[in-house]
Symmetry: C2
Subunit: 621 residues, 2 copies
C-alpha cells in the first residue's frame, strides 16, 4: 500500500484553496412563495405582466377625456355629461364619448374612452352633469397599466437572497413558485465506539461520552445555508465505517467527519479516503485543527474535522462554513464579526496560525472587550463560554492588552452576554441569574473569581466566606448560606460534626480549593486543631478524601447519593433539595462584588436591584 | 349602534403602548435538539450529569497513586509495577494497589485506586515495571468527572436563544429535547373582492390585483420569530369576513388584517372589532399608517394595517414586529439597523411622524448613503427598491443632505445593493446586470437617470440616444441598439416606416417621454417634419396614440401582441425575442456613465470589466 506523503503541514490559505476546489453546489429546485424566504434565486425573473394590470384611477373623482377640459378653470368650468360610475373591483360597463364623464373611485378601472381623471374636489355636480373646474392632460391622476412594474421589466436578478420585500414584488407579479439554488446537503459522520447520542443512556464506567460534534456541526451547517444529514454512528470497524462514508458520499454534496479520540477511527477514515477517493490535503498549520483532512469520495467533497468540540467548531467556522455559504449563495452574515479590544495580553509562540476561542464582555462604554477562554479544548463548556474566534497569525508571538482584534462569532445569532460574572457556585445565585437577560456566569470558585475581578475583565465576582485581601470593588449585595456535611438520607452513619471525619472511618468528598466552601471548611478545621492542640495538617490528613475536591456545589452530594462517599461538603439548601441528611457546621456570607468601572452598566444595576428585591436593602454593607 | 369616539389620532408612543398591552405569547412547547436552533429556552437547564462522566486521563501515560511518586525525580525515579492497561472506550478491568501503575491512553477511564497520572514522556519501562521520573500530586493530568460541567451546575438560563454552541453544551449533557417558548401564531386575513392569490389567474379588466400584503407580512412575521397562518380571502361581505376573523382569532395569538382599497371592507372589520371585541385605538399620527386599528377579538390580539403594500410593511416593521419578537423572546436582530447619511434633502411638513422608505447605496468610502424612495405608496416596486425605513419625528420639517440617520432595515437579511444604477431600460443591460452581484437598477428612463446622476446618488446612469448637455461623468462603455416599429408577426398592416404612422390610420403605442427611445423617435419626427416642410407638432398630433407612453422597453410590443395597438415603439431585439414584425428606423448608442466619485468602487470596476468583455475595448470613447 502506497501512502501519499504530506511532509509539511499545509498553510491555512492552502487549506482554503483545497476546500474551494471542491464542488459543494446543491443543484436547483423550485419552491413556493411561502418557502422562498431566505432562499437564493437561481435565475433572473422578468415581470410577466404589468402591475397594475389595468389603467387605474389614483383618486376618487371623474374619468374623462383630457381634451374636453381644455381651457377649463374655476371661473369657466367644462360641463360634461355623467354617463355611469365604476368602483374598485368592478369591470366598467360604459365607454366614454366626447363630452362625457364617469364617476370613478380610487383603484377602479378607467373606462374605455377616458384618458385622464379629475379629483372630486375640483368638480361640482349639476343634475346629471359635472362641472370640471380645472384642465387636465392625458394621463393625469391615472396610474397606467405597467406604471409600477412593466411586463418584460427585470424584476429580480439571479443570486438575490429572498427577503420579505422581494416576496412582495413576486406576489405583485403573481409568481407563486421560484427557481432557487438547492441547499448543499452535508452528511455528518461521527465515529468512535465511545460516542452515544444525546437522549440515549450513557455508560460512564466504560468511558462513554455524548456525541457533541454531530449536533453542533449540524446546527452550524444549517446556519451557513446547508442542509445537515446525520448518519448513524459508525464504530471503529473499517467495514462499517467505509459503508457509512460511502452512503453519505452517495447522498450528500459534502461529507464531514470529526475524529474520535481513538486513533484507529481516524486511520480508517484516512485509508478509505486515500484508497477509494482522493486526498488533497492532510494536516494544516493551525492550532487547533492540525489533523484536518480535505479530499473527495465518489462525487462528494470530504472534510475531516478535529475531534475536540471546540476545535471542531472553530475549524468548521473558519474553513468549512464559508464554502457552504458560497455554494448556497448565502452571503457572509453581516453580524458575523465584532471588533473589540483585548482585555489582557495573550502569549503564543508556536509558529502556527492560532484559532483562539474568546468571550466578549461590554465595558463601561458598551465597547466589546475580548478575553481568551482558557479552558482546554477538550472542555465542551468552553463552547458555551466562548462567543467566537480570533485568528492570530503564525508570526504573532502575543496579542497585547488593548489591541484591536476582530472576533468571528460562532454563529450570527450569538449575543455577547449582558453581564459577565465569575466566582462561587451557589443555588441562590442561580435563581438571581434567571431573572436577568442573557447573563453569563463562570463558576470558577471564589478565589479565581476575585483574581479575575482584579484583572478587570468581568462585571461582577461572587465570593463566599471571608475575603483575605482588600479588593477594589463595590459590594452590590450579599446573603448568608448554611454549610456543613451532607450525608445519605436519614444520616445513617450518625455523623455529628467535623470531628467525626477525623476520628471515624468515613469516606469524605470535598470541594476544590478554589471554592469558598472549602476555605471555610479549612478555617473550621484550623479552629478544631487549635482546640485539640494539634496541627491542622494532621487533621486534614486524617480525613479520607480530603484532597479530592469537586467543582460544583451539588457534586459532593451526588457522590453521596451514588454511594461513592459517606459525607460530602455542601449546603443545607442542596441537602434539602436532594432529600439528603445535613449536619450544619457554620454559616458564611456570599458577596456580590462589582468591578468599580462597571457599576453604571445597565445589567449591573439590574443585578443590584434584583439583590435588593431578593435579600432586602440591609444586604448592603 | 354606539360608536367610540377617537377624536385625536394617537401618538406613535400610544400605538406602541396599545400593542404592548396585548398578550401575544405563544405558550410553551418541547422541541428536539435538531429543531432547537434559534428557539428560545423557556426555563433554566441545570446539568443533570457530570461531564465527563468519569475521571479521565488527559494524556497517554500511567495511572498511579500520587503518594507512590513522592520524592521521585530524574535521578531517583519511583519504581512501580505495571498491572494492566486501559484504552479509551473501555471499562478498566484492574484496580490499583500501593506500588502499582496502569498504562492508560488519552480519554480513558482512570482505574480504581489511581488518583493521578504521569505522562509517558516522564517514564521509562523496565520489564514489567515503570520508572516514574517525576512526582505528581493527586489529580495531576486527570480531568475529573464533572470538571467540565458538574452535575447540578447551571447550564443555560431561561431566555437563551439556542445557537450551535448551546447545542454543543446540550449534547454534552445528553439532552435531546428542551422546553422552548412557543412561536406566537399570527393569522393574516386579507380582504377585498379585487384581491387574487399569486398563481391564480388575474382578471385585470375587472380591476383585480394580486394580493401582495399577505405574503409579505407572512414573511415579516416569520422573520420576527412568529408563525404565520394565511387565511382564505374574505370578500367584502360582512358575514364571511366576520366568520374568518373569528376563526383566525380563535386559532391565533394575533390577527393582522390589511385594509383593502374598498372602504366597505375596512368598515366591516372596524364594526366586528368594535362590537364583538375591544377597540383600543383607531388612527395613529404617522404617515403612512394613519388608519391603523389596535384591539382584541375573543382571546386574540388584533392589529389592522394599511392597505398599500409599502405602508403595510413599514407599519408592520415599526409597530408590530417588535411586539412579535418580544413575545417570541427573540432579540432585535443586530444587523437590523444601519447608520448612514442622507444623500439629499427631504422636505416634510405635515406634523405627523413619518415612516420614510429609503434605499441605501455605498459611497466611495463604503459609507452608506441614504436616499428617499419617491414612488407613491401604491407602487409595489418601491418595496423592492427600498431597503428600510427612516423614522422622522413630527417636529422635523426637513432632513438635510449630509445629516446622519438610522435606517431600520425591512428585514435583517436585506443587503444594500453593491451597485446602484439608474436610467434607460434595455435588454442588453439586463444581461450585463445578471453577471454582477446584487446590483439594483431603477429603469426610470434616460433623462431622469442623468438628472439623478447629477444629483450624485447613483453609481452609474445608463443613457440611450444623444445627450443634450454636458455631464460630469466617466463613460464606462457603450453599445448600439437598433430601434423602430414593432408590428404584429408578419407585419400584416405592411408598415414601412414612420410616415405610415402619420399618413395611415394605425393605432400606435409610444414609450414615456423619459425614455431615450422616445427622444430618438421625436428627433426622427422632427427630421421628417423638416423634409415635409411641416411642423413636428402637427406630425405628432397626426399619430393616433402618440401621447400615451408606456414605461418598459417591452410594453408597447406587448400591447401589439394583445391586439390593443397596430404598431409599437421598440427595439429589434424585443421584436425578435417575441417573434413580432419589425421595421427599422435607426440605431442609437446606449452609454453607461459612472458617477466620477465612484469610479474606484469595486462594483463599478466590475461593471466596466463586464462591458469590455461583452462589447470590446472599442466601447470606450
Amino acid at each position: 500500500m502506497e501512502r501519499k506523503e504530506f511532509r509539511d503541514l499545509a498553510t491555512p490559505a492552502e487549506a482554503r484553496a483545497a476546500i474551494d476546489s471542491l464542488s459543494l453546489e446543491g443543484g436547483l429546485e423550485r419552491v413556493s412563495l411561502e418557502e422562498a424566504r431566505g432562499r437564493v434565486l437561481a435565475a433572473r425573473l422578468d415581470a410577466e405582466l404589468d402591475v397594475p394590470g389595468f389603467d387605474r384611477a389614483s383618486l376618487d373623482g371623474y374619468a374623462l377625456r383630457a381634451r374636453d377640459t381644455f381651457g377649463a378653470d374655476e371661473a369657466d368650468p367644462a360641463r360634461l355629461e355623467v354617463v355611469g360610475e365604476v368602483h374598485a373591483g368592478e369591470e366598467p360597463d360604459v365607454a366614454l364619448e366626447d363630452g362625457q364623464a364617469v364617476e370613478i373611485s380610487t383603484g377602479a378601472v378607467m373606462p374605455d374612452g377616458a384618458d385622464a381623471m379629475v379629483p372630486v374636489e375640483r368638480t361640482d355636480t349639476e343634475g346629471s352633469e359635472v362641472l370640471v373646474r380645472t384642465s387636465v392632460a392625458p394621463g393625469d391622476n391615472v396610474m397606467f397599466a405597467g406604471a409600477d412594474v412593466a411586463a418584460g421589466e427585470r424584476a429580480l436578478g439571479p443570486g438575490t437572497r429572498i427577503t420579505p420585500r422581494d416576496i412582495g414584488l413576486l406576489s405583485a407579479l403573481g409568481v407563486d413558485e421560484i427557481p432557487v439554488r438547492g441547499r448543499p446537503t452535508v452528511g455528518i459522520v461521527s465515529t468512535g465506539d465511545e460516542l452515544v447520542r444525546p437522549g440515549d443512556d450513557l455508560e460512564s464506567a466504560r468511558g462513554e461520552i455524548y456525541d457533541v460534534n454531530s449536533y453542533t456541526i449540524a446546527a452550524g451547517v444549517e446556519d451557513a445555508g446547508g442542509e445537515a444529514v446525520l448518519y448513524p454512528h459508525a464504530g471503529d470497524e473499517q467495514d462499517e465505517m467505509e459503508r457509512i462514508l460511502r452512503e453519505a458520499a452517495d447522498e450528500c454534496d459534502l461529507v464531514l467527519s470529526s475524529g474520535s479520540t481513538s486513533a484507529s477511527a481516524v486511520d480508517v477514515i484516512y485509508r478509505v479516503i486515500e484508497e477509494q477517493g482522493e486526498l488533497l490535503l492532510h494536516g494544516v498549520s493551525v492550532k487547533p485543527g492540525k489533523p484536518m483532512l480535505v479530499g473527495r469520495l465518489q462525487n462528494s467533497a470530504y472534510v475531516g474535522l478535529p475531534g475536540y468540540p471546540v476545535s471542531a467548531m472553530m475549524v468548521f467556522r473558519t474553513f468549512v462554513a464559508p464554502a457552504i455559504r458560497e455554494a448556497a449563495g448565502v452571503p457572509e452574515p453581516r453580524a458575523a464579526t465584532v471588533a473589540g479590544t483585548m482585555a489582557r495580553e495573550e502569549r503564543y509562540e508556536e509558529g502556527r496560525m492560532r484559532l483562539m476561542p474568546v468571550g466578549l464582555v461590554e465595558d463601561s462604554n458598551d465597547e466589546p472587550l475580548v478575553y481568551p477562554v482558557d479552558k482546554g479544548s477538550g472542555a465542551t463548556t468552553s463552547l458555551a463560554e466562548a462567543d467566537g474566534v480570533v485568528e492570530v497569525g503564525p508570526e504573532t508571538d502575543y496579542v497585547e492588552a488593548g489591541e484591536s482584534v476582530t472576533v468571528r462569532l460562532f454563529s450570527p445569532d450569538v449575543r455577547p452576554p449582558t453581564l459577565l460574572g465569575v466566582g462561587e457556585d451557589d443555588p441562590a445565585l442561580n435563581r438571581l441569574l434567571d431573572g436577568l437577560e442573557n447573563p453569563r456566569y463562570l463558576s470558577v470558585g471564589t478565589r479565581p473569581g476575585l483574581r479575575r475581578l482584579r484583572e478587570g475583565v468581568p462585571d461582577v465576582a461572587v465570593a463566599a466566606g471571608s475575603i483575605d485581601r482588600d479588593i477594589d470593588a463595590e459590594e452590590l449585595g450579599r446573603w448568608t448560606r448554611e454549610w456543613g456535611l451532607v450525608t445519605q438520607a436519614g444520616n445513617p452513619h450518625e455523623v455529628e460534626g467535623l470531628a467525626d471525619l477525623i476520628d471515624r472511618d468515613l469516606r469524605f468528598v470535598n470541594r476544590t480549593t478554589d471554592s469558598g466552601l472549602r476555605s471555610s471548611l479549612e478555617a473550621a478545621l484550623s479552629d478544631l486543631a487549635a482546640d485539640r492542640d494539634a496541627s491542622a495538617r494532621d487533621l486534614r490528613e486524617a480525613i479520607d478524601g480530603f484532597d479530592l475536591g469537586l467543582r460544583a456545589h451539588e457534586s459532593p452530594a451526588r457522590k453521596v447519593i451514588a454511594g461513592d462517599a459517606d459525607v460530602g461538603l455542601g449546603l443545607r439548601a442542596t441537602a434539602e433539595r436532594l432529600d439528603l441528611g445535613f449536619v450544619s457546621v457554620d454559616q458564611q456570607p456570599v458577596r456580590v462584588l462589582a468591578n468599580p468601572d462597571r457599576t453604571g452598566k445597565e445589567s449591573v444595576r439590574e443585578l443590584a436591584a434584583a439583590l435588593e428585591r431578593e435579600f432586602g436593602p440591609e444586604a448592603d454593607g
